[in-house]
């Protein structure tokens, strides 16, 4: 448009602005492999939640591998971070959801990495190295059935419960948002 000047932020101010904005937000990170049947349930779930939840206070993202990789997501000064991952205990019904803090953390499929570091050690390492890791950390696990067979679809047991799982996780996230306010 003639005569209109567009103001653009210099890059360093964009970086700082992002950090300031993140301070009031929660990061939701889903882990998994989408072509390993139920393994990718958290990734698919987070993608669906992101499409439908326009709450500006929740930042959704996905990854595959835990361990040191987690630190790449945790330096933006979020108020809280929620990890979502698949788990196979064999003790719960398919689709069962559990929540853990760092104190009672139970190993899920992807948050630790054999090739570098466990989840707990990664969090400790990040704090030791000065990463802005939030005090509030929650892990949501979803009990799955099949994680060794390549396939684009869930197992029958998980497929039948997926809608319920999605609604439950969404409710948990909004409860967390209320808790940390």
């Amino acid at each position: 448009m003639h005569g209109v000047r567009f103001f653009t932020w210099p890059p360093h101010r964009c970086f700082l602005l992002k950090k300031i904005m993140c301070k009031e937000k929660i990061l939701v990170l889903g882990f998994g492999n989408e072509v390993l049947t139920d393994d990718g349930i958290a990734v698919k779930l987070v993608k669906h939640l992101k499409e439908n939840d326009k709450n500006p206070q929740i930042v959704y993202d996905t990854s595959w591998l835990g361990g040191l990789e987690i630190l790449e997501y945790l330096n933006d000064d979020y108020k809280a971070v929620v990890f979502i991952d698949a788990i196979i205990t064999g003790k719960n019904k398919p689709g069962a959801i559990e929540q853990y803090d760092l104190d009672n953390f139970k190993e899920t499929l992807h948050l630790s990495n054999l090739h570098d570091s466990s989840f707990i050690n990664t969090i400790k390492l990040g704090r030791k190295l000065g990463y802005k890791i939030p005090e509030y950390i929650k892990v949501i696990s979803i009990e799955i059935v099949e994680d060794k067979l390549f396939g684009n679809n869930f197992s029958m047991e998980i497929e039948s419960k997926y809608s319920e799982i999605k609604d439950s996780v969404s409710a948990i996230l909004h409860t967390i948002l209320e808790t940390i306010k």
Binding site: W64, L109, L114, K124, K148
Partner: protein, 487 residues
Amino acid sequence: MKRITVDPITRLEGHGKIEIFLNDDGNVENLYFQVPELRGFEKFLEGRPVEEVSQIVTKICGVCPGCHHMAAGKAADAVYGVTPTPTAAKLRELFYMAHFVHSHIAHFYALAAPDFVVGPAAPAAERNILGVIGKVGVEVGTEVIKQRRIAQEIQALLGGHQTQVVMNTPGGVRKGLTEAERKDIEEKAKGFIEFAKFSLNLFNNVVLSNNEYVDIILKGPYSLNLYSMGLVDENNKVNFYDGKVRVVDQEGNEHCKYSPEDYRDFVTERVEPWSYLKFPYLKKVGWKGFVDGVDSGVYHATPLSRLNASDGMATPLAQVEFDKMYETLGGKPVHATLAMHWARLVELLYSAERCLELAQDPEITGTDLQAKLVNTPNEGVGIVEAQRGTLTHHFWTDERGIVTKANIIVGTTNNNAAICMTLKKAAQGLIQKGVDVDDGILNMIEMGFRAYDPCFSCATHNQPGKMPLVVNFREQSGELIRTVKRD
């Protein structure tokens, strides 16, 4: 001895499982190591256009997706009978060198260093990257994470994403490099070189200056006399991205050297009833069981074997370290399994130097990114060195380029027999009658296969930062005496 048959349908909960059979004296007679295997990836590729396969295979493994992307990309080139343009080949190799830098840094500091910096029998809670940082300082820890991240940034820039890589297309790559990006990578590569030099110094000061550690490397119950495999260039220098596969024997004499398309003339796979993974071996030597020596076709494909199979490194600083390593360890080839950690650091330096060379190559910012595809697609093999072994992708397609059949031999699979043998030897050396099998003993056994940096993420992925182990001790009759479990 009672034969144990493992029902492959029985699920293991993602643990590595070891079955140890004791003899009448209470010493280790035999050992079987089992890891559950992912199923059906080759079938999953059938019906897919070969152009897409290099993106799909990044889903095999979150640890080495770049390796699968490269091997599949080269196989797709071969399917079309096309040679990538020089710029495309160099861009691929530049991505790949960054991939090696990030992976080798992570392995050394998070997995190898704890055993040597903190100590192999130190409490488990300290024997990890936190324990290493505690000893070497927060500044070093910050640098480890920083250099690893920088390498991944280069991967993301060139590959489209650091893990879900999309750069390759048959005959080339999808995106080029600007001059500004090239300069940035050039500076970062200089940082990689300095950090690699620092890491080798650390290894020298902490490990090589400690006689106890040198004894563990040279005299510990880990060494095997195996054939060594690795990819080499036309001068027989180590190359991770391209070349021919060379295998040398226990004395360092060339056993064979083959082009990727001929791999089935030299390597074949064996199935054991108690294992979920196959056991590749050298066809012309033959399978003689889980034994080492010149008459056994068992080989290894590791950082150490790559250096053993070569006549040197293609970059100057890495060549100096190559010479130093072999001089210190008594000549070439070296069979001390734990020397893989040293070899890995030499490779880190090579990868860093090669990054810089490629970043300074005038062709790297070229705009000719893809060769023309003129042939009818058919069949092709692509081989690269993954960080943990020679990786082979073989695709057959119809005339439209739709995959009809696929065969993949992943890096760790090459080492399956060697890993089993190393574990057995370590167990026999460390577990004896009257010895309490505690966490320290388990860790020293684990050091044997940790040296291989096995990608059981390709086989399984329930890995909480250390190998969860179930160790069953059985009498010769097969009766279970005791189980030692570590989660």
